[in-house]
Symmetry: C2
Subunit: 405 residues, 2 copies
Amino acid sequence: MSFDYTPILPAHVPAPAARWTGFPEYNFVGGHIDDATVPVDDLRAAIDRAMVREGSNLATYYLQSGPQGYRPCREFVASKLKTYCGIDTTADDILLTSGSLQAMDLINKLLLEKGDTVIVEESNYGGAFSKLRALGVNMVSIPLDDQGMRMDALEAALDDLVAKGIKPKYIFGIITVHNPTGTILPLDRRHKMIELAKKHGVPIFEDECYSDIVWSNERPPALRALDDTGIVIHIGTFSKTVGPALRVGYINADWSVLSRLIAMKSDAGSGALEQMMLSEYCPDNFDAHVKRCNAVLEGKLDALIQSLDENFGAAVHYQKPPGGIFLWVKLPEGVKTSRLAEVAATQGVAVNPGPEWSLGKDSDDWIRICYANPPIEKIWAGVAKLADICHAEFGVPEFSGNIRR
Amino acid sequence: MSFDYTPILPAHVPAPAARWTGFPEYNFVGGHIDDATVPVDDLRAAIDRAMVREGSNLATYYLQSGPQGYRPCREFVASKLKTYCGIDTTADDILLTSGSLQAMDLINKLLLEKGDTVIVEESNYGGAFSKLRALGVNMVSIPLDDQGMRMDALEAALDDLVAKGIKPKYIFGIITVHNPTGTILPLDRRHKMIELAKKHGVPIFEDECYSDIVWSNERPPALRALDDTGIVIHIGTFSKTVGPALRVGYINADWSVLSRLIAMKSDAGSGALEQMMLSEYCPDNFDAHVKRCNAVLEGKLDALIQSLDENFGAAVHYQKPPGGIFLWVKLPEGVKTSRLAEVAATQGVAVNPGPEWSLGKDSDDWIRICYANPPIEKIWAGVAKLADICHAEFGVPEFSGNIRR
């Protein structure tokens, strides 16, 4: 007879995971990237050089670099933060993490308690919402427009919280290539955001996980670059540029914060090989690699857009984003995307329904389509299949191409 | 002016970490291994083969294997558990983690709440104690003898808890190469331990992090091998055999537990390269590698023992362990090891003072000396220096070699 753990589990443990059964045939979810852009040969050469030089350091925790992570990798991150988004920092103020998700967990663990309030963009990374819900934290959401978070709404929300006697713990923002809309917050709003944060004494938690993926290869300075008081905690990752399976993310913050995050990172370091490999590969190759990836990804986005236009016609609405790996699409009136995603999943088409990615009232009108991983022919076939399913379930789109269904 | 985070931090956040300033000259702490035993060339070949075959899978989370971790690596773990400690399991019931520390954190997070009680060996891994303290969990400690945890004491403690109406959440044990004593619990006690666990309906959390390091290369079956009810949750690691910097550990448990641990693992997987490398390296090389390491380590242990005898004479007591990477040493009467470790640290000699590693009343008589990493000449020099410091501070040892100090 099996021992039953159920009676001894604390209340509110998450539901058990289901057995993983592989990716769906048309996989438009998850922050995967394009297989063909992984620079396998250069990465092989990089990890081999690193192993020759200091493979025997695997014998010690932290590769002779201490709990912040492999120093040469931190040095590259610091230089990248300078050249890519204007943050003037050093390896001493970087903590390497197991992807930006561990970074997020650490920051939440440091700052948040049950019952706390945080400010979030109304549409946002679904995982951020789930993590905050699991912690029992209240979310105050700020509406977006076609340039990102609205500063008038942020100001009103902060004032409203003051009136209620509530001090939010942070303002969370994915403001450079926002998830899911892809917008890049303009510079004047960035300055305003910092001004508001300072006025109210509320830290900003800036998540730049997609910010390297910009078609123009240009972007405004990070919030952390525009502030010299340490009120901004900045995180990023190599997941979307070199590969999500690597699990290398980072936190850049003032030492008063970073030193506490290090103390809370209870896993004795993140994987060494990835840090060794990136520190060899990136200094000479990262810039050109990112530009190559961005060209490929914009091509895939164009294919997605064409396939949506072809299959859904004028019934869908979207704004072509300046970067990223996903498109946020408003479906025709009458379509409930939570239902659509559920039915599509049973037929091998995976999309994120709006309610997972947005707290907005109209969230069930939207879906998020990740296009970076599927080959272009799969994008076309998957979108066609999604249109079929949508039509079968909701009677729209009425036209696909010029053909009435 | 710097933004001050202090007012917004929840109570009881840990103290900030200090800047890492490198390892001490005589480093007898930390689960490091011998640099020279890291099989660098074979590991280079292994990761290169894996990258050639499926490097492009780095583009997807989880390397096409789902959230439990890279399947070929899980398959090796399952086969190793069978041949090394008799557990009949499959890759389906393995979860790969960022070292066994993440495994421990996940299990604690699943099972424990503030105010809960767990049963632990009286001397034990200091990190396990700190994690439990940070969670606000009460520890009931079971005394050890020269073979490990005393079953009469475990039985009495369980009965006593029943009488008090307290149901402990688990019995934690590092029973195969115990940390810090190095003992291996005999088979009859293992059977007794499972019998007691079942009688009281209390799960066993079995940590086999050092169990591959046995001079005879033979060991009794794991507790999980002796039970078919799922009452044992088993964890292990590659840290002590291939390298701690890798951060590859694992959990083996019934699906009812594992599926919940997977749901709580919120970092989207642990590092891919280590899992790829190990799955290529281990099937053909792990057995011979471990035997080679064990021979080297036993040689270092002998050097440590000789240097202790030479420098401390009859004033110290220890039991030569059948395996592991540390020696648990009782210092001469009058020595307070918490003080000794503090003074030694200022002079470049790092040892674990007993109170960090034991809840016993006499804990301040003991130190833990990790001997795997320092070269033999450093072991000799470090122990000589420790004896000097001990003499200067406490007047003992009176003799070093045949020379009165």
